[in-house]
Assembly symmetry: C2
Homo-oligomer: 327 residues x 2
């Protein structure tokens, strides 16, 4: 259970949640703006990214922990705001109708509000990062976000391309998802006052964790149950984003030929289920699961650079959780 | 001419332009991403906001000017990236087809790329602001952007509302446009090492200049020539954004009644010209022009707090230019 893994940082995650709400209680944010922004914060996500920042500060000496914990909570809040901003912009892009089990903001209030609310969250996130007053931390996140955007642009430019190599796919999800996970874990190490080598190991841990997470997410878009996920499935396919399970299925002689024919003819909501089941029954399913496990193993290997203790144990359990979602 | 006003900072503005291009030469920004981002920078805007940051550093003592000038160029670059990001997101929002005399990115590459390129520019802007390593400056811009977003959300929430008061309208453009102008001018003062009172005067100058600028822009959307402006006109009306000229026209007995009837029935490209000419021939035109002049005067009054010299003279000429666009 995620709540068990996060148990040691539950009070801090609660403070992140409260700080998110507080970021809306600003001068200038009045009706009619506030209800729009408040809606977005109404459902609490997994807060994986905030936890990645918070966990490395566990078990600190009491003397430092007050200030360190406060800054880690600020950084965790900023990263959740950044994540919310990208979700809001994704919801516009993907014409998704549901997120975290509820209608998306763009369905309720239109695309315009989603884009603007996302921009507002970006600005607030950088405002909070600026308050922490640690240039290295700010650099870490600004480059991670630039990389994330570049990855998303690449994904969009590559849409409907059936000839993407596995290597290209892995690079793309590395930029799109893993770079922010890597920045979070490194930020945690930085704020906890860890040495350079531990920080670098945490960054690589976060990167591999992010890849494992995205592989799992991509597989769930094919084999997942929309009621359990709280969001519609098949979204990648509808947007022409061909992920690893699809790319592997395309390379299979019989399945590939059939799949290629349907995709070339054009996919819509009517033949979506046919394609999902075609991919779900191909080697793409197992290949993606194995790849996610491989990246989980790489993530765990990086943790060997950390001393034994609660930080290492909790990060290891987090890596386990991330891939277990597909079992 | 704008080039005359900017003459003293021409080399710096040229460096801003080059720095904008350089912000795309980053690790991870490869084909196919680069052409998308490069297109946006292909047409050079007025760089008003960068000039607002740069002008206060004029006439500095040679000993300090190297470092100060470098930081002002960085801040100017960041603010132009922020402005570009908001334009990119506006182009999606407003379904605009042209900007700076060329087709918008969203027309050529789709909404998705516009949103993502905007996000990328935001991230790069904050990256550059972080490099300047001046927390006060960073705070200035992060709160200005949050305020800008709040203003845009308000504008959208208020769309198609014919009962907006003049006061509400002025508050809204204050948030949407003037807050960033204010931050730019204050940032210039901060980087030039001016005292607190001069910084505050520069901030108020920027705020009033921003209001005068937006009033002029709003009037040009009604009375401007699309060929001269390099962008389509009547966009506010098509989006249901009722600006001062329209609000004043609505309050006029005969014109107001006719206008109200057409707007309530629904506006489209067919009756847009009828409405534009109705508003252009109403008291809304002169009232908006007078209001712009009033805010220009307020801006000039703030400059009295600065010592005589090139900074004051150039800012005064800038204020003149901003409203002269409507004559």
């Amino acid at each position: 259970m995620l709540s068990d893994i996060f148990a040691p940082v539950t009070p801090q995650l609660e403070m992140v949640h409260r700080a998110l709400a507080a970021s809306l209680r600003l001068e200038g944010i009045t009706d009619p703006t506030r209800p729009v922004l408040t809606y977005v914060l109404g459902s609490r996500g997994k807060q994986l990214r905030a936890a990645l920042v918070l966990i490395p500060t566990l078990g600190e000496k009491a003397a430092d922990s007050g200030d360190r914990s406060r800054r880690a909570i600020q950084a965790g809040t900023a990263v959740e705001l950044i994540h919310l901003a990208t979700l809001l912009h994704d919801d516009v892009l993907d014409e998704a109708g549901e997120r975290r089990g509820r209608p998306t903001l763009s369905v309720l209030w239109g695309n315009k509000n989603s884009i603007l609310a996302g921009d507002y969250f970006f600005a607030r996130a950088f405002g909070i990062l600026a308050e922490i007053n640690c240039p290295a931390l700010l650099n870490l996140f600004t480059s991670a976000i630039a990389t994330t955007c570049a990855g998303e642009i690449e994904e969009h430019q590559d849409s409907y391309n059936m000839e993407i190599s596995e290597e290209n796919y892995l690079q793309r999800i590395g930029k799109k998802t893993a770079s922010l996970f890597a920045a979070c874990a490194r930020a945690g190490g930085l704020l906890a006052g860890k040495g350079r080598e531990e920080q670098a190991a945490l960054e690589r841990f976060g990167y591999n964790l992010g890849i494992a997470f995205q592989l799992t997410d991509d597989l769930l878009d094919i084999i997942g149950d929309p009621n359990q996920l709280g969001k519609p499935v098949g979204q990648d396919l509808l947007q022409g984003v061909y992920t690893l399970p699809v790319l592997v299925a395309l390379a299979e002689p019989a399945t590939g030929k059939r799949l290629r024919r349907i995709l070339a003819r054009g996919l819509d909501r009517n033949n979506l289920e046919e394609i999902r089941s075609l991919v779900a029954n191909s080697q793409g399913r197992e290949a993606t699961r194995q790849m996610a496990l491989e990246y989980k193993t790489r993530a765990l290997r990086e943790l060997q650079a950390l001393p034994p203790g609660p930080v290492r144990d909790n990060l290891a359990r987090m890596a386990q959780f991330v891939v277990e979602r597909i079992f």
